[in-house]
């Protein structure tokens, strides 16, 4: 098992390398940011000086190798604009994003799984249809429309919750909770839709399995059949989707952080993209990819807990 974990870890290296190459090339083929850095009134000579100072005049492969060597040493470089190390920026900004992601995942799972099970159990009835229509809606309404809607109702009209901002739960748990509710609701919709659908589909499938019939033949009550037999067996695809959905979640975080003005990683990266702050873009996309890969690795390994048939 430990050997296996090691193997799987090693196998993520090519994936991350692919990410690194894609991101690096994509950004560098678009020219260099020297002109932005040099400012509004810079003359051509000044731009050239900046270009040399940052090494944008060197061949691409040389820049790439230099960057990779740096990254391997745990150094993601420094922001071109503020001069702050990218690792510092990530450390500063990770808490709000992490909290938002956590509350969203927890809330979504708590809502979506029972909904999905219910829909599967009552498959074909109006309950099923209602859940599924809600799920389709969750996929269809743009995140920012939801965000504005919630903000309008709960913050502007009812004055119940703040419209924006983030407070750390380690400082003021109440303010944290008030601030995180709307972003969580907003971001959860698509995730709930995703998880509810897969829960329904995979529970529906397990409900057709022979062992469900066996459980009924034993005289088991429906609720236990559903949760103990069906859901447990449906867990692997559900957990898989939760893992794959993290990519979707990160996309949603970007928009949600913008709407609710949460100073997290999503905004850091969007700002960096509009400013061509390459070290931040590269570092953050790599960081997101790393999180995605590691999370899915953990989920892969967790399969063994969910399904004893899976052994590595």
């Amino acid at each position: 098992m430990p050997l296996l974990v090691l193997q799987r870890l090693v196998s993520t290296i090519p994936v991350l390398l692919v990410v690194a190459v894609i991101v690096f090339l994509m950004l560098r083929i678009s020219g260099d940011p020297a002109a932005i850095l040099a400012g509004d009134t810079a003359t051509s000579a000044q731009i050239e000086a900046v270009r040399q100072a940052f090494g944008f005049d060197r061949p691409i492969w040389e820049q790439f190798l230099g960057w990779i060597v740096q990254v391997l040493q745990g150094d993601l470089g420094e922001s071109l604009f503020t001069g702050l190390p990218v690792t510092t920026l990530i450390a500063q900004r990770i808490e709000p994003t992490l909290m938002l992601a956590l509350t969203t995942i927890v809330f979504s799972v708590l809502v979506a799984v029972p909904l999905g099970v219910l829909a599967a159990w009552r498959s074909g009835t109006w309950i099923d249809r209602a859940v599924m229509v809600f799920a389709v809606l969750g996929f269809s309404v743009p995140v920012f429309v939801l965000g504005y809607g919630f903000m309008y109702v709960f913050s502007i009209e009812l004055r119940l919750l703040p419209v924006q901002g983030y407070t750390s739960p380690f400082v003021d748990p109440v303010a944290f909770a008030q601030g995180i509710i709307l972003p969580t609701l907003t971001l959860s919709c698509i995730y709930i839709a995703l998880i509810a659908r897969i829960t329904r589909a995979s529970v529906l499938e397990t409900l057709n399995e022979d062992y469900i019939r066996t459980a009924r033949a034993k005289g088991q009550v429906e609720r236990t059949v559903l949760f103990r037999h069906a859901l447990r067996n449906a867990a692997v695809p559900i957990v898989t989707v939760i893992g794959l959905g993290v990519a979707l979640l990160i996309g949603g975080v970007v928009v949600t952080e913008s709407v609710f003005n949460i100073p997290g990683l999503g905004r850091l990266v969007v700002d960096a993209i509009t400013r061509r702050d390459y070290p931040i873009i590269q570092g953050l996309i790599l960081f997101f990819a790393l999180i995605y890969v590691v999370l899915n690795l953990i989920i892969d390994l967790a399969y063994t807990l969910l399904d004893p048939r899976i052994r590595y």
């Binding site: 390398l17 692919v18 990410v19 994509m26 389709v136 897969i198 996309i285 997101f288």
Partner: protein, 306 residues
């Protein structure tokens, strides 16, 4: 034995020797789907209307959607401007109708491109063993990058145009299609009739074309609808983040992004395109769900997602 009984009690018994009634022939799939899913029929009707508007945009009471008239900005609904004007004095109704074109084009183009590219890569990846690990690592890499970020970055570096937006949305969608096709190929590869075709000496291209490809079509049709819906949504999000189609293009995403700034003054300018977008995506998704139930009940499990 009937198909109905087959699903239930007698399913466990080895199939018998009485003629099995035919499942519906492929041609009647759509019609059958619509009859069995009234909601889907309604969705199809909505989509047909939208498509009609998009195709015959010049004929449905529209003027030039890009014609500026700053003096007549932010007007309410009137006989000349059915839905009023926007912040540059352009006719909102015309933009809405022409915007359907953009959304339809983006949705269709992304779906078609993602499916074609993904299909080609997936087919060969599934059948050529040495290619598989390489391609799949690249796909894993692409999947690991959050799609929206990848798309914003692509549009930012390559400039905003409909073509780059389409390309930027296609890139993150391709790995999903590849995985889907590959999973179908891997399972079809084990089917006895494929093995039978191998043993009668069918060369690989013919094998893929005749025996494997047709199996990929139903799940791909379903996936294509989802891709189309998600592409329209992504186009709107890109515009929202300022990295979408050029502002001159009357797309719903741009209308939402522009309307957002003046939401407090002219809320309808955001709501019209927002609602149009949501309804279209909803209709596509509903249709996709119905098709999935009909064509490929196991799709959800096979892709692991959507």
């Amino acid at each position: 034995m009937t198909a109905v009984v087959d699903k239930t009690a007698e399913g466990a018994i080895p199939p018998g020797d009485e003629p099995t009634p035919a499942p519906a022939a492929p041609a009647s799939h759509l019609a059958g789907t619509l009859r069995r899913y009234p909601l889907a029929a309604f969705a199809a009707l909505v989509l047909a209307l939208i498509a009609f508007g998009a195709v015959f945009a010049p004929l449905v009471g529209t003027t030039d959607p890009t014609a500026l008239n700053p003096a007549a900005r932010l007007q309410g609904a009137s006989a000349t401007h059915w839905l009023g004007t926007d912040h540059l004095g352009r006719d909102v109704w015309s933009r809405l109708v022409y915007g359907a074109r953009v959304s339809v084009v983006v949705g269709l183009a992304v779906a078609a491109l993602a499916v074609v590219v993904g299909l080609v890569i997936g087919l060969f990846t599934g059948f050529i063993r040495w290619l598989d690990p390489i391609v799949m690592r690249v796909m894993d890499g692409l999947m690991a990058i959050p799609g929206i970020l990848l798309a914003i970055a692509l549009v930012s570096v390559s400039g905003a145009s409909i073509v780059t937006v389409i390309a930027a949305i296609v890139v993150p969608e391709v790995p999903r299609v590849v995985r889907l096709v590959r999973s179908v190929v891997l399972s079809v590869r084990e089917e006895p009739y494929v093995e039978a075709a191998v043993s009668v000496g069918t060369p690989l291209p013919k094998l893929l074309w005749r025996h494997v490809l047709p199996n990929c079509v139903p799940p791909l049709i379903v996936q294509a609808t989802y891709v189309a819906a998600s592409a329209m949504l992504t186009e709107a999000i890109l515009s929202f983040l300022g990295a979408g189609t050029p502002p001159i293009v009357p797309s719903w995403g741009n209308m939402v992004a522009e309307g957002r700034l003046l939401f407090q003054i002219a809320p309808m300018n955001l709501l019209y395109p927002g609602i149009a977008l949501a309804i279209t995506i909803l209709a596509v998704n509903i249709l996709g769900d119905a098709l999935r139930d009909r064509l490929d009940p196991k799709l959800a499990k096979r892709v692991g997602q959507r």
